[in-house]
């Protein structure tokens, strides 16, 4: 599974992208975030308030109950501010 982080999510985690192989209990975005939070203080800080974070799976916005699987591209980022 490929993970991507943008803006302050990227800065708090300290990386823009990483390849991970989560354990089998990670089945959706919510359980993926729980697993990521435990990986270190940067992750815990980034995912402190999940209401401030948006998630896209394979380039489509999803809610936290959306399934994730090996091979997916999962991105976490703040609300967008372009334009």
């Amino acid at each position: 599974m490929k993970l991507l982080y943008f803006a302050w999510v990227r800065q708090r985690i300290g990386a823009g992208t990483e390849e991970v192989t989560p354990p089998t209990e990670v089945t959706d975005v919510a359980t993926l975030v729980d697993w990521l939070r435990a990986r270190g203080p940067g992750y815990a800080e980034a995912f402190k308030d999940t209401r401030a974070i948006r998630c896209a799976v394979n380039h489509t916005y999803v809610e936290v109950d959306h399934p994730v699987a090996a091979g997916d591209e999962v991105a976490f980022f703040p609300p967008v501010t372009g334009g």
């Binding site: 991507l4 943008f6 803006a7 302050w8 896209a56 380039h59 916005y61 991105a75 980022f77 703040p78 609300p79 967008v80 501010t81 372009g82 334009g83």
Partner: protein, 151 residues
């Protein structure tokens, strides 16, 4: 029906000329250009850096453009969004729509920039008098996008 994400500046006159060239069914051209301001929330801004999500950005912009074409009878559309570091006065984004009718051209232009602001994966970081900061999403932008109803 063009979407471009680029570091380089764009030539507004040349882009609009090629959008209307040779199409005499066009009666109205609506345009919005977003520029870097030198102040935000009362703080002086010396530069802006635009980050985006390559791959998803283009898909999101194409989706927004397709939605506009579903809603209005458009002849053509153009979205150009810059990424990278920009200075006050620089162009950030160009949105343009052509239509037989002025109302469609102007409404679709407003729709495109409203939706782009809340749906396309771009993020702004400002260099200010007080250091760097990520720009916060605005509730007013959510409200502007919501005027147009659900996707």
């Amino acid at each position: 029906m063009t979407v471009r994400v680029q570091e380089a500046d764009f030539d507004i006159g040349a882009e609009l000329a090629s959008l209307t060239a040779g199409n005499t069914a066009v009666g109205g051209l609506g345009v919005f250009v977003g520029l870097v301001r030198d102040v935000a929330d009362g703080t002086g801004v010396s530069a802006l850096t635009l980050e985006h999500y390559p791959g998803m950005t283009e898909k999101a912009l194409e989706g927004i453009e397709a939605e506009a074409r579903d809603r209005w009878p458009l002849e053509d559309t153009l979205i150009i969004h810059r990424v990278g570091r920009m200075l006050p006065g620089d162009n950030i984004v160009l949105v343009a729509c052509t239509s037989a009718h002025r109302q469609a051209a102007l409404d679709a232009t407003t729709f495109l920039i409203d939706w782009l602001k809340t749906k396309a994966p771009f993020w702004k970081r400002e260099e200010t008098d007080q250091g760097e900061r990520w720009v916060d999403a605005r509730e007013s932008d959510d409200q502007a996008a919501a005027r147009w109803g659900a996707p």
